[in-house]
């Protein structure tokens, strides 16, 4: 039992519609230093929780730990294990990482007060999974760009105009080419997004990841998540395959992963009518660079 006298707090991983069997939860390693995973009930909602040391999960300690990439990674993996443990028992609402309550009672009453919203999200996510799709400019573009900027100053093969004017005209051609390539790639990314949206219940565009994060030399043009009905999963993946095989889309590289627990679509407290959700997602899609 979590309380201040035992020095533990209640870490909440996920909410689920069905109660995961204790045996399945006990086999899952949660956060290090914590107790075994267990469930609590708040009305019709089950909570997957773990007792974790208060010293490691206080506000100061958490901020400090999550600022260190290695700690952050360990914490995220533990969080995902806890969420995944709940997944086989029907729809799951993953909580944001590091959702901590002082006691079981606090966690239960916090969830109970929003039971209706939670149940609505369950209904929305039931029988649906998330697919992540990223579109990068194709690698040859980066290579060509780098070679272009390198050779400009030294003067190209004999055809180029020598001197300062030659340099300016080469720089002008280089800039125009880069612009064109960029625009084409962006248009292609938009096509990919619009095509996939046709097979998805909902879609959301995340901020493109930096090249530092992706480890690629090419800019990320689309970082989207799609909520796909299990019944349409085959259609969705077939559409992805068609896009990858499409010769007109050579400018980009499409990577996808899934099915995932729908992290991107399980936000509580943003319950808006279905029509408004679609409109908001559409706006986010077109607004994203």
């Amino acid at each position: 039992m979590s309380s201040s006298d035992t020095g533990t707090v209640t870490y909440l991983f996920a909410l689920c519609a069905g109660r995961p069997p204790d045996g399945a939860l006990a086999a899952v390693a949660g956060h290090s230093g914590g107790g075994p995973l267990r469930t609590l009930a708040a009305g019709a909602v089950h909570l997957v929780v773990q007792d974790v040391p208060a010293a490691d999960f206080g506000e100061r300690a958490l901020t400090d730990r999550l600022n260190r990439p290695e700690e952050l990674r360990r914490c995220a993996l533990a969080h995902h294990r806890g969420v995944a443990a709940a997944a086989p028992c029907g729809p799951v609402v993953p909580l944001p990482m590091a959702t901590v309550y002082l006691s079981d009672g606090n966690a239960v009453s916090a969830v109970a007060s929003r039971e209706e919203a939670v149940l609505a999200v369950f209904r929305r996510l039931d029988g649906r999974t998330e697919w992540a799709v990223k579109v990068h400019a194709a690698a040859p573009e980066a290579a060509a760009g780098a070679a272009g900027s390198g050779s400009a100053g030294t003067g190209g093969p004999g055809t180029a105009v020598p001197g300062g004017r030659g340099y300016l005209s080469r720089a002008s051609a280089r800039q125009r080419m880069r612009r064109d390539r960029h625009e084409t790639a962006r248009a292609v990314a938009r096509t990919v997004d619009l095509t996939l949206r046709r097979y998805a219940v909902d879609a959301t565009a995340h901020r493109p990841q930096s090249e530092h994060l992706t480890g690629r030399r090419a800019p990320q043009l689309l970082n989207a998540a799609y909520l796909v009905d299990d019944a349409r999963r085959a259609e969705f993946t077939a559409a992805l395959d068609r896009l990858r095989a499409d010769g007109r889309l050579r400018e980009v590289e499409i990577t996808s992963s899934g099915p995932w627990i729908p992290y991107s679509f399980a936000r509580l407290g943003e319950q808006v009518p279905a029509a408004a959700t679609t409109a908001a997602a559409g706006a986010a899609g077109t607004g994203a660079p």
């Binding site: 260190r68 990439p69 780098a146 900027s149 300062g164 300016l168 005209s169 002008s172 090249e211």
Partner: protein
């Protein structure tokens, strides 16, 4: 906790004295490269508009060409490549 001090976040300034000089050169060159690219863009814009006389075009182009060569030399001196000269501005994308 087995570490004595929190490790610096990835991407934050590392104030190790031996690395500071390198880091400073890196930063200065990045800023110079930003200015160089801005100047080049502006020059190309004027060039494309056709508002420069041939002599102006030649002088401007030569200056930019020399500046570019000088940047290559400076990068080589500090063991950097042109691709290193960039800053991740987070939500704003990269600087260059």
């Amino acid at each position: 906790m087995n570490t004595t001090a929190p490790a610096p976040r990835d991407g934050t300034l590392d104030l190790d004295p031996e690395k500071v000089a390198d880091g400073l050169a890196h930063l200065v060159l990045t800023v110079v490269e930003l200015l160089r690219q801005l100047m080049e863009k502006q020059a190309v814009r004027r060039f494309e508009e056709g508002t420069l006389s041939p002599e102006q075009e030649d002088r401007l182009g030569t200056a930019l060409m020399l500046l570019e060569q000088r940047m290559d030399d400076l990068c080589a001196q500090h063991g950097l490549t042109r691709d290193d000269l960039n800053l991740d501005l987070g939500p704003l994308g990269s600087l260059l």
